[in-house]
């Protein structure tokens, strides 16, 4: 019998859309909270329409990436353009502990669902708002996409090949990062609530959340006035070498190697069968100073090897080395298989699909990885059982496209 999950009894209304907001709900849901996305057929979230689709058949309940990113959330449907739906939303929020949203500032107020309104129905509600650049300040209404948000943090400026232009990361790394940090923010506020009885409105700027990753380079700017360009895979603070990705045998196969300590360097030298040229790089300072020449030497050696075999061989010498995995490798890799990173589940509408499960492992509790969600799958429960609507009224609200 598994233990009760840590967030049992916490209920969440998740108005979050696309990716970051849903990941907040997912994380809380995996940990035992009861989470419902509040969405609508009147304006279907674009994320539900992204291919590929289950069995190749398009539809808002068949987007495979949507199900992976949103698993852990339930779903109720309300057409929030109508007063009655907003009234129902408030009734629902009154039963909740947490409200999540990642619209632009003011959007919730336009729906008459501002923090002030929510507080009237639930005085100790914890509300997480996570707009792109926060709830105030000159850029509060900035328009960005998840994958370009990092451009205003400095992160993009240091990502790319040394000496070259910034290379864009081709998807929104910031979204799951901010989603998980958003879950932490909610938990911090819940911890405060349990001690003081007070809720609050969290102002989560996605720009500021993800800019935390830029801290090391920011400190170099603060201390030395440096603000350089892309550095490739080199050590972010030029404190260690070799530190890079090197070619291996086969099409687009690579190995990552990072050497920090003297023992690791000796391990690498032994792993390479003591080539004569290593004497040019005997101490750490000379390795960092001549990093490009060093990397060329290593690349000339690695390219004859299979990436997995070489990683195993170097690890045998205590060297931090891994194959560079592609998408197919992720599903087939023995490590991820052993940890159950990816799991096959049955979607509520009856087809099998592969999503990710508990992306962190816990020793005493088993994550609640509910798949899906299908649009409105929890309407019956929330509106009839939780809010106590009569069957008649419920059917009428559906017919009137208010629960929709």
């Amino acid at each position: 019998m598994p233990n009760s999950l840590p967030l049992g009894g916490i209920r969440v209304a998740n108005f979050g859309w696309v990716w970051a907001g849903p990941v907040v709900g997912q994380t809380l849901g995996f940990l035992g909270a009861e989470v419902y996305k509040v969405e609508s057929n009147a304006r279907i979230d674009l994320n539900r329409m992204l291919p590929p689709f289950a069995e190749g058949e398009p539809g808002p309940d068949r987007s495979l990436q949507n199900h992976a990113g949103w698993a852990g959330n339930g779903s109720i449907t309300l057409n929030l353009k109508t007063d009655e739906a907003r009234e129902l939303a408030l009734q629902f929020v009154a039963t909740c502990d947490v409200v999540i949203e990642n619209f632009g500032p003011g959007a919730m107020a336009n729906l008459k669902l501002s923090y002030e309104e929510l507080r009237k129905v639930k005085p100790d509600i914890v509300m997480l708002s996570m707009p792109a650049a926060g709830l105030d300040g000159p850029l509060k209404d900035i328009r960005t996409y998840g994958l370009s948000l990092t451009s205003i943090t400095g992160l993009d400026s240091i990502t790319g090949y040394p000496g070259g232009p910034p290379i864009p990361v081709e998807n929104a790394f910031a979204d799951p990062y901010n989603g998980i940090m958003g879950a932490f923010a909610v938990l911090v506020a819940l911890r405060y609530r349990s001690r003081t009885g007070k809720g609050q409105h969290i102002d989560y700027s996605q720009q500021e959340g993800v800019m935390q990753m830029v801290g090391p380079a920011f400190m170099d700017y603060v201390l030395n006035g440096r603000s350089g360009g892309p550095i490739g895979n080199k050590h972010p603070l030029a404190a260690a070498a070799p530190h890079g990705v090197f070619p291996c045998k086969g099409d687009d196969r690579w190995i990552s190697i990072a050497v920090v300590t003297g023992a690791e360097w000796n391990g690498l030298v032994a792993g390479m069968d003591n080539p004569g040229w290593v004497s040019e790089f005997a101490d750490a300072a000379s390795r960092v100073e001549n990093v490009d020449a060093l990397h060329e030497r290593i690349a000339a050696w690695t390219e004859g090897f299979d990436d997995y075999e070489l990683a195993n061989r170097l690890q045998g010498h205590g060297v931090a080395a891994t194959p560079v995995l592609n998408v197919a490798d992720l599903l087939n890799d023995p490590h991820y298989k052993d940890r159950g990173t990816f799991i096959e589940v049955m979607h509520p509408l009856g087809f099998k699909e592969t999503i990710y499960g508990a992306y962190v492992k816990t020793s005493a509790t088993e994550a609640n990885v509910s798949p899906g969600p299908a649009l409105g799958q929890d309407n019956d429960y929330v509106f009839k059982e939780l809010l106590g609507l009569s069957a008649e009224r419920y059917e009428q609200l559906k017919a009137d496209e208010i629960i929709h």
Partner: protein, 403 residues
């Protein structure tokens, strides 16, 4: 001053470099009492990684260490000695959380693995953050940020030019990601301790957290079903355009104009050049097919304008174009200053130094760094005195090199 949200939460950190220290910083910056335990003499390896003012190495002047260890108290302890281990067990006896990122075998060798700690304190939540995690065939592999990141699938799929080296961001992004995941799951374990019936071990693999929630989320269902997968292209969005980073007069901009309204807004900002009306540029998918013809035409215009001007004019026209700020430009951005994101702390060696503020704002219980990172062993007397050791005992342990 209002109290921090996590006031009363006791945390012991046995961490180094980025992941465990950043995770513990998240707790500390929101009011938890964090004791950071470092090896005597050398301290956390981050102290040796810089960046140092004028690149002059100094154990108390690492910007990395300064950034990652705000609001903590610092103690030195050699946990590899029997006396050091005993003291560590005393430290964690009434702690809520231990945060660490040592190799699993190292923790076992020290006798500080989860079963050993849980015996002393069954309510303890232990957050372990390593490149690969506590279990699985790579659990005992050596690994740094770079290795974890490239094991996540991110670089092959999303970062770099085709056929060229897959890229990490120019920072420790896997360690930051793993640290954040550890903070969320670890705090949940604390919040729900009564429901669960005690503490537990939270096992974070930095590689896995990203492989799952970022690359896996978007790709694994499709690959599992269709046996087909994509790789990096070097272009922001290969299927819609314009959507990539382009050069401009003083740097780069993130050019984005996908929807019809955005494309029309961009045309307006660019002075309605005739070519933008051509059939081959009339929808984001068609534009992507004709990207090689389109991007140079946009670049002719961006080359004559500065990034901030391009961003301001595009944003005003409803086009989601942003400047690619250098780190310095981001640091000086008026928006972040106005929001108080850049903060300043006094440090005995640096003097007054700027650092980044809290990742999110809690109006009732504001977070963020208020005291600088500890010097090596700065709080030994108060921490070990708090465990009931006399001044003489503390001096003896220091002489033996235990603290």
């Amino acid at each position: 001053m209002p109290e921090g949200a996590l006031e009363g939460t006791k945390i012991v950190e046995l961490g180094r470099l980025v992941s465990a220290p950043y995770c513990a910083k998240l707790f500390a910056d929101y009011g938890a009492d964090v004791v950071k335990v470092e090896p005597p003499r050398t301290g956390d390896l981050a102290r040796h990684w810089g960046p140092f003012p004028n690149d002059a190495p100094h154990i108390e002047k690492s910007g990395l260490f300064f950034y990652l260890n705000t609001n903590k108290r610092g103690a030195t302890l050699d946990v590899s000695t029997p006396a050091g281990r005993d003291l560590f067990l005393k430290l964690i006896a009434d702690a809520d959380v231990v945060i660490e990122n040592n190799a699993p075998q190292q923790m076992r060798d020290w006798g500080l693995d989860y079963p050993s700690l849980a015996k002393v304190n069954p309510n303890l939540v232990m957050i372990s953050i390593t490149a690969y995690g506590q279990t699985g065939p790579y659990a005992d592999w050596n690994g740094y940020d770079l290795n974890a990141f490239h094991l996540s699938g991110t670089s092959s799929r999303y970062c770099g030019r085709p056929g060229e080296t897959p890229l990490e961001h120019g920072t420790f992004s896997a360690e930051f990601f793993g640290a954040t995941a550890g903070a969320a799951w670890g705090l949940a374990a604390v919040v729900g301790r009564d429901l669960v019936g005690g503490g537990q071990h939270v096992d974070v693999s930095c590689a896995e957290a990203i492989a799952a929630t970022f690359v896996g989320a978007q790709n694994i269902g499709g690959y599992a079903q269709d046996d087909h997968f994509e790789k990096r292209t070097g272009v922001g969005m290969p299927l819609g355009a314009p959507a990539t980073i382009l050069p401009c007069r003083d740097g780069h901009v993130w050019m984005l104009a996908l929807e019809a309204g955005q494309w029309n807004g961009l045309a307006e900002v660019m002075g309605n050049p005739d070519w933008m009306q051509l059939e081959m540029f009339q929808d984001m998918f068609v534009r992507a097919q004709n990207a090689d013809a389109m991007y140079p035409l946009i670049e002719q215009w961006t080359a004559e304008h500065d990034k901030q001007e391009i961003m301001d004019r595009c944003q005003a026209a409803g086009v989601p174009v942003t400047a690619v700020y250098t780190v310095g430009e981001a640091a000086e951005a008026p928006h972040l200053k106005e929001r108080g994101y850049i903060t300043e702390l006094d440090h005995p060696e640096f003097g007054s130094v700027r650092t980044l503020g809290a990742p999110f704002k809690l109006p009732e219980s504001p977070g963020g760094p208020t005291s600088a990172a500890p010097t090596l062993g700065q709080h030994n007397d108060e921490i070990y005195g708090g465990l009931g050791l006399s001044a003489k005992e503390i001096t003896d342990l220091a002489e033996k090199g235990v603290i």
